[in-house]
């Protein structure tokens, strides 16, 4: 198959992969002095931290804000081996950068990135020196953000909560291409933000099998419905190769406080459970591999077939890890899973 530029798919992906390797982009290893080192150069495993608090909800239908803040700090400090809760954020972003927080709100209030988690992150970002006006919390539509409990605001002097569908934002006119994907990306990603922190939610997806970090990028482009066939494979992997995504992606803070083991991605309470956790990583493939394991374990507990047996194998994870994509590792032997 040839791309519109006349390159074969293999040629194109090879170019993308080489570019990713050259830039060390898409996944980072953070040295103790705060320098960013490509994993290959560091010879390190991809670290994934899963932090949990069984009392996160207490008796409330929403997580306790103080406990969420503490859990976030715990996860970040373990990931960065940091003695304090501010230093990790100073390693992640620089004060002059415009930081985009890409949430996942399509499932509404029952199964979206929790506003209380976003509040905890924006608090730490500001303490790390990022001005409120340089923080944008975003997803594809204002309506979804609103329904998930975010107070919409596009005031440039404060933290913005805004959807790509806002009239003054929209999608970049450039059509980006990688493998099977031809798409336009949100101007919030391509133009407004210098970097992106990915804040997905841990869910089953009846097409993709698993949705966490990589699949959350389906909320970044204008035609995600075109890439759901064949269990979203290689659509998810190809989309994440696009330079604006690959180069601006900085870190994943996965919301696993309430998660979903079947019937996803929309909210069905009977298939959701309180995992009471946060997952953090710089490698989106490693964290998705971990997410897959968590969902399979829960499905087994509930007597359900594996995702593959149920016809929704998350094959895109292995494709994202292949040499042509190089977005991270799905090899458990190269993932350092730290549960705290």
């Amino acid at each position: 198959m040839k791309t519109p530029e006349g390159k074969t798919r293999r040629d194109f992906l090879k170019g993308c992969a080489l570019g990713a390797l050259a830039a060390g982009a898409g996944r980072y290893v953070f040295a103790t002095d705060g320098k960013v080192i490509p994993p290959a150069a560091a010879g390190a495993k991809s670290k994934v931290v899963v932090a949990r608090d069984p009392s996160l909800y207490a008796t409330s239908p929403t997580p306790d804000s103080a406990r969420v803040q503490k859990l976030l700090d715990q996860a970040m400090q373990h990931f960065f081996d940091s003695p304090d809760p501010i230093s990790p954020w100073k390693k992640l972003v620089h004060p002059g950068e415009v930081v985009g927080l890409k949430v996942n709100t399509i499932a509404g209030r029952g199964l979206s990135t929790h506003p209380v988690l976003v509040a905890a992150i924006t608090e730490r970002l500001q303490q790390a020196g990022v001005k409120p006006s340089n923080i944008i919390v975003w997803d594809r539509t204002n309506e979804e953000l609103d329904r998930a409990g975010f107070a919409l605001s596009n005031d440039p002097n404060h933290i913005r909560f805004v959807g790509t569908d806002s009239k003054q934002i929209g999608y970049d006119e450039t059509v980006f291409t990688a493998g099977s994907v031809h798409t336009r990306l949100s101007n919030l990603l391509t133009r407004a933000c210098d970097c992106m922190i990915n804040l997905p939610i841990l869910k089953n997806h009846e097409m993709a099998g698993v949705t966490l970090a990589l699949k959350n990028m389906y909320g970044v482009n204008n035609n995600p419905d075109k890439f759901h066939h064949n269990n979203c494979c290689p659509g998810v992997a190809d989309l994440n190769l696009l330079p604006p995504i690959r180069n601006k992606f900085r870190f994943v803070v996965g919301d696993a406080m309430t998660a979903c083991f079947a019937g996803g991605p929309d909210y069905k309470p009977q298939y959701s459970w309180r995992y009471n956790g946060l997952m953090v990583a710089s490698d989106p493939v490693a964290i998705d591999t971990t997410a897959w394991q968590i969902i399979e374990k829960k499905r087994a507990e509930r007597g359900l077939n594996t995702l593959a047996q149920a016809g929704m194998p998350p094959n895109y994870i292995a494709v994202a890890a292949d040499p042509l994509h190089g977005l991270g590792t799905n090899d458990p032997n190269h993932i350092e899973l730290l549960e705290v």
Binding site: A107, G110, A151, M207, A208, G264, P269, Y271
Partner: protein, 168 residues
């Protein structure tokens, strides 16, 4: 950022203002007959807005979940929010399929788990915070956002009222 029931009117108004271009159609309550109005069922209040998504816009509402409905022949989907005595909120989705087989296909595709089976429509499943039933070409899904002892009983009563409005 709370999800108080008192937000329903403001949420509806804001969403109308912000999302006129989102692809879904919006109706005043009087133009939609499938949803019971406020007061028709004791304790239940309906938000004024009903959103309707044609098949080709369903993914705007439920993302990748739309695929299984499309494969089963969905024609349109309407959704409305309700609240019960200021205690909890419920979203009601009504999927209109081309055939009764389509509704059955989607219904049967979801794990029954430990569901109860109330006498509702052609088949129904009741969980702690959700109720799903089908009747002819219609598939109805109710989702509650809080858990309380009254939720299931109240949802069944609302479900019976919806069932009466569905043509076979």
């Amino acid at each position: 950022m709370n999800h108080s029931l008192h937000r329903i009117p403001s949420v509806a108004l804001l969403s109308v203002i912000l999302c006129l271009a989102s692809g879904c159609q919006r109706h005043t309550a009087s133009s939609i007959s499938l949803f019971p109005e406020s007061g028709e069922v004791s304790g239940w209040t309906k938000a004024p807005e009903v959103r309707t998504f044609p098949a080709d816009k369903l993914s705007d509402y439920i993302d990748g979940d739309a695929e299984k409905y499309l494969k089963a022949g969905v024609r349109s989907t309407s959704t409305a929010d309700y609240k019960f005595k200021d205690q909890f909120q419920v979203t009601v989705d009504i999927y209109t399929m081309s055939t009764a087989d389509g509704a059955k296909t989607v219904f049967e595709s979801e794990p029954a788990m430990d569901a109860k089976t109330p006498a509702l429509g052609d088949a129904a499943r009741l969980f702690a915070q959700s109720l799903i039933f089908r009747k002819g070409p219609y598939l109805v899904r109710m989702v509650a956002y809080q858990d309380s002892p009254e939720v299931t009983q109240a949802m069944v009563k609302l479900g019976l009222a919806v069932e009466k409005k569905l043509s076979p």
